[in-house]
Homo-oligomer: 325 residues x 2
């Protein structure tokens, strides 16, 4: 192996695509960020472009070329059936035959927090998914079928309920909620409720705004919901409680030995701090060895170094404090 | 007015766009059908193309030109803020200054079944919406905010729940249901449950199929749900009951004097025949003067003839039997 050989880790998520370049000893050299890289969420073309942007930028920052990559792992929440691995390695300019692996983001996140080859993981981010891990691979996956078919309790799931609650208040079929002013402010819409064709004017604006962007972008409203629930809004609290019930179904479905690694933006920013006493999710977590995930990008780097037979303890130390047990 | 002047009625729906050309006495001359014409569902460009196709075909069939149109009404479920009326009349080749009106499809459907200037209407089709009518116009509209923000109890709403129930059975988080074989057959997918990356193979195929088309196309699964519910499937029956609860909210929100005109494909093909005794929707309909809607295209023609001050009784008689009271 060339002494200039580098290891490439990519985390292609529903919100951003991040690339990390390390030397073959696990020392981080450079990072870069690009747009959403989940083909299920934004389409194959946009996802490929984001991957390319992030990888090129990180390699340029490290002063290396794609031909110098000796091992690469791309972690993604999206379906890997939409693009072949061969196409992807060509797209990224990697040399043919270089160890390359695409892994579910859940596996990368799992290995960011534990070395155990058996356990389980749960992500609640833009989407939601859980899995049992055995022999270092995913044995059984539940959820993770995207915003339309599944992803119960995810950021999109919460955001969709939030915007529906706002629309229902505006047309008079739902209860008043502090989500309404908060969402309108977040979307930059003036709260003009004068009637237009039988509806409050702002409801038409909300409709146009919501359909003018990719549906999955509604996940941005999840933090608004957690804030409103924390401040005592009953509608928002109902959405948060229902989201936790959805996540409890996933947690129960991956019961078994070993740690349960939990992570994702929705988990960290909202669910973790608002577990309802007596709620289904708190019950599902009871007695489990719950470990907060570190960064899935770190887990992807761990897997890329493992493919070279490299120890990864040094990487963990270099990347920051270890995952909190 | 030229004796060759014709009246144009268009119904631009989420599934098809239909055009009807009549002479100025209300005698139907020709009809034509094109693809979905709801800009919220399929985008402005596709919706405009469908309108153009349907209108051109109907005029050609009638042996008339767009310049001979003396009054036109376009009924649509979509937001009319996406395209200006001026753009639309130009797009359709109508002469400047010809009486032209865009109306919500709900108003057209209302006037297909009653001459009362005051009452209420409910559509449960690909989407769902209800309104109070006063002075011949929509006074207050509830629902109708599209598949993402509202449309509770609609064909899409049902189809989404159906496909989520199938995904949940396939990954083991939901109950077994006869919806699964029915939906897989409807979508042309083989029921191959051998594992692939921790999931049944067919679940990956279902994900790819669902995200490979416009989300609103899931409305096609509503009839599958009604059939399964009718045959005693508990999961399907739960979806139908929940849909009726959603529609009951709309019906209650438009309470008041005058008839309640009800229609839409989901209403006709499923809801009407499966009203649960003691259910919220049956309760909401009790004591109302419920009238099944005739064709919204007919209502659009009624409104186009009204704009010329023409009586419309002849049109109703010519178009078929009157709406059943």
């Amino acid at each position: 192996m060339s002494p200039d050989g580098v290891v490439l880790a990519v985390d292609a998520g529903g919100s951003t695509t991040r690339a990390l370049v390390l030397d073959a000893s696990g020392e981080p050299l450079a990072r870069a960020v690009a747009g959403p890289g989940n083909p299920t969420a934004v389409g194959v073309r946009a996802a490929l472009a984001a991957l390319h942007d992030a990888v090129c930028a990180a390699l340029a920052e490290a002063g290396r070329a794609a031909a110098q990559v000796v091992s690469a792992v791309v972690a993604s929440a999206g379906s890997d059936r939409l693009v072949s691995a061969e196409h992807l390695t060509g797209h990224l300019g990697l040399a043919p035959g270089v160890p390359f692996r695409r892994v579910p983001d859940l596996l990368a996140m799992y290995f960011s927090a534990t070395d155990s080859d058996a356990g389980a993981g749960l992500i609640a981010g833009t989407g939601s998914v859980a899995a049992r891990v055995g022999d270092g691979a995913l044995e059984r996956v539940v959820g993770g079928t995207g915003w339309l078919l599944g992803d119960g309790g995810s950021g999109f799931w919460i955001g969709r309920r939030v915007v529906r609650a706002v629309a229902a208040e505006l047309d008079g079929t739902g209860a008043a909620t502090s989500l309404t002013p908060a969402v309108l402010a977040d979307l930059g819409l003036a709260d003009d409720r004068r009637p237009r064709e039988g509806r409050p004017f702002v409801l038409g604006e909300l409709v146009d705004t919501a359909y003018g962007a990719e549906p999955v972008r509604l996940a941005r409203l999840a933090p608004v919901c957690f804030a409103a629930a924390g401040a005592g809004d009953a509608v928002a609290a109902g959405v948060v409680a229902a989201a936790q019930d959805e996540l409890a179904v996933l947690v129960r479905a991956v019961a078994g030995p070993g740690p349960l690694v939990v992570g994702g933006s929705v988990w960290r920013r909202g669910v973790e701090g608002s577990l309802a006493p007596g709620g289904a999710l708190r019950g599902a977590l009871a007695g489990r060895d719950v470990r907060p995930a570190d960064d899935g990008l770190l887990g992807a780097a761990v897997l890329a170094l493992r493919a070279l037979g490299r120890p990864t303890l040094r990487l963990r130390a270099a990347a920051g404090p270890p995952a909190r047990p």
